[in-house]
Amino acid sequence: MENYRVTKALGQGTWGVVHMAEQIGSNRVVALKKIKSKTSGEGINFTAIREIKLLREFRHENIIELVDVFVTPDQAVCLVYECAETDLEKVLNNKSIPMSFSDIKQHLSSLLRAISACHDRWILHRDLKPDNMLFLKDGTMKLADFGLARMYGTPKQRLSPQAITLWYKPPELLLGSYEYSSAADMWSVGCIFAELLLRRPFLQGKQTDISQLDTIFTVFGTPNETNWPDHKALPLCARGLLWDDVPAIPFDEIFTGAPRDAISLLRSILALDPNMRFTASQSLSHPYFSNEPPPTPKEKLVLDTPS
């Protein structure tokens, strides 16, 4: 703590307060997240440990850098990150910021590069949403908030289906799956891509998992033997949850005006069956990224209201 001078509060996160601070000596501006254990008898908070453990593995352009960690005498852990200017949520909500197809391409490719780095290390992010995509001053996108992230790939390890924010939650988690993998993250990526194209959240369910499933199935059609062969094995389906058959709405009708290659990529990422979904590296080699227009260079992205 003695190495930092707190300048102002940035906001309240799930696990604690985030402050902006200055590193004494180097004058580097950083974000300071203090995580204190809520329940006694567990020692240092386990989400903090999870986040520290995973972020220490990375040195990636598009993943937030953990500058420093320290513990305070009252058993709280302080995580020191590089300080971001804004996040994608704010950018999307600010309607005075224009967003071209080139900008979208740049955002998506940054996100995919970050995700593919995670999946290469067998790490699932499990909370992908625009709030967690931060932007530095120079326009670099940084994926943040690894508090829910998990290692995966060990056989028989059960993962909780209670992860990922509702609107970005894939159908297999909503149906109660315990064994999911990188495809779950990819669904969230697809939702973010759709949100970039539409400029509003794509699948807005109303607070409950069932309502979110309804929303998904009205767009994608109900799962059947062709679009998702083994959905019947999932816990909720096995218990006999049924839907009225609805046909899928073609993507061209939803994303009017979006380029064809974008819709083709989106369709590959947002597949109901997790086994059919594109992986991050497959998506990166999709022609969408090599076709015209080229992605906007990160320095030229407009991230704030032009003053």
Binding site: G41, E42, I49, R56, E57, V71, D120, R121, R150, T154
Partner: protein
């Protein structure tokens, strides 16, 4: 995952030279007024010339690095009672990979810190606690852990030599130790273990053994009636091979330095070779493993393969020469429970126990007197103390780490020769 880019490869891999340098510095006791967890071992290889915040002055009080290591081995070995498949309470019984993570965190910590500054029992409990969180296992309450240490300390009460070491640790102590542990590890917590590779490798070896040399499997003590089903044959073979290799890797993690020197994949290879007893007196790889290498990697050059082979044989050499490991123990037919090597190790431990007890006593006295200067204190084992026959409480007597749990009980160990010493039982935990 690419091991080369992991934090373990970047920060926790050392070589023999830097490892011994680290240990020499770690053994230095800090003045009691400014005691802080040091973490210079993390990334030591790449920043040798930096100031590590500790000096090797002649006057500073220290233990011999080797003695410290002996004690660290003892405590690392004892962690298995606190966490993992052999833990004493059902809440603490977790997978063996959690146990390995705990052991590795513990050993990393004492690469930069002295056992006199931080009591190893508290650090062991904290390692267990932290390992559970690092491996994303279900929540573990500190109370349970603290209670486990107290139960073990009661059991160890009859064991004069090591009862100070296996002391009870309170909840507050564990909480503080956890913070020190995190600091001492420079917050680099991810641990890689060779078990995944061992499983895969022993599967392939079992298949090869079944297919190519059916007579070889006779050596592993299979009843001939099983030979009708080659699948069953393979399954059984795989199970013993895998268990044995995992036991080798666990012991190597506790007693040898290989996990700081070599990548987990290579350690896995060496462990399987030891489990197969496929190496010679000079710890060179035997014919089966070399043949496997050639078969599995036909496109690699011969020089590459022989480099790999010689590295693996260095690992085998390191494991078999480590104190506290008797390579015969992993043999297909274990012949001796307490072999010569084990007894030597036990004697060594005894000496170190009394040493560290004296050193702790000295420091306590100093602190009481509030002396400013630190006179070097000569530490010798007391000549008056009667020699007890002592063997290491080896947790699960003669069995492998992966074996199922039996209820904890205290068994007296028979002391061999002297009749008067036979009265002095020493308790071991089974």
């Amino acid at each position: 995952m690419d091991f080369e880019s992991s934090s373990q490869a970047r920060f926790w891999m050392l070589n023999e030279l830097t490892l011994s340098e680290c240990r020499a510095k770690a053994a230095v006791v800090q003045p009691s007024t400014k005691k802080r967890a040091r973490s210079f071992a993390c990334g030591y290889r790449d920043r040798i010339n930096e100031n590590m915040g500790c000096s090797l002055e002649a006057k500073s009080r220290r233990m011999m690095p080797l003695d410290q290591e002996t004690l660290v081995h003892f405590h690392a070995h004892q962690i298995q009672r606190l966490i993992g498949p052999n833990a004493i309470f059902p809440e603490l019984q977790r997978s063996s990979s959690v146990l390995s993570t705990a052991i590795m965190l513990f050993r990393r910590f004492y690469l930069s810190n002295s056992i006199v500054d931080f009591h190893p029992r508290a650090m062991a409990a904290a390692s267990a606690l932290l390992a559970v969180k690092v491996d994303c296992e279900p929540f573990l309450e500190i109370d349970v852990l603290s209670h486990a240490t107290s139960v073990i300390s009661i059991k160890a009460r009859s064991a004069r030599v090591c009862r100070d070491e296996l002391k009870w640790v309170s909840v507050q102590e564990i909480e503080h130790a956890e913070m020190d542990l995190m600091k001492g590890l420079e917050y680099r917590l991810r641990c890689h273990h060779p078990y995944g590779a061992i499983k895969r490798l022993s599967e392939e070896m079992a298949e090869i053994l079944r297919d190519t040399r059916p007579q070889e499997t006779e050596r592993y003590g299979y009843r001939s009636s099983w030979s009708n089903s080659s699948e069953l044959y393979k399954e059984e073979l795989l199970e013993t091979l895998c268990d044995r290799a995992i036991a080798v890797a666990q012991s190597a993690l506790v007693y040898s330095d290989v996990s700081f020197l070599y990548a987990p994949g290579k350690i896995a290879f060496a462990a399987v070779a030891i489990a197969l007893e496929d190496f010679d007196h000079y710890s060179q790889l035997g014919p089966r493993m070399t043949e496997y290498l050639r078969m599995r990697f036909p496109h690699k050059k011969t020089t590459e393969l022989s480099d790999f082979g010689s590295e693996v044989s260095r690992i085998i050499g390191a494991i078999s020469s480590a104190p506290g490991i008797d390579i015969k123990h992993f043999s297909i037919r274990p012949n001796s429970r307490h072999s010569m090597a084990m007894q030597m190790h036990a004697m060594e431990l005894r000496r170190v126990f009394s040493l560290v007890a004296r050193l702790r006593e000295c420091i306590k006295r100093d602190e009481a007197k509030q002396k400013r200067h630190f006179a070097p204190c000569t530490v010798e084992p007391s000549p008056k103390r009667r020699r007890l026959s002592f063997c290491v409480p080896s947790g699960n007597e003669g069995k492998f780490y992966a074996d199922p749990i039996e209820p904890a009980r205290v068994t007296p160990v028979q002391t061999p020769a002297y009749s008067e010493e036979r009265m002095l039982y020493y308790s071991t935990f089974v």
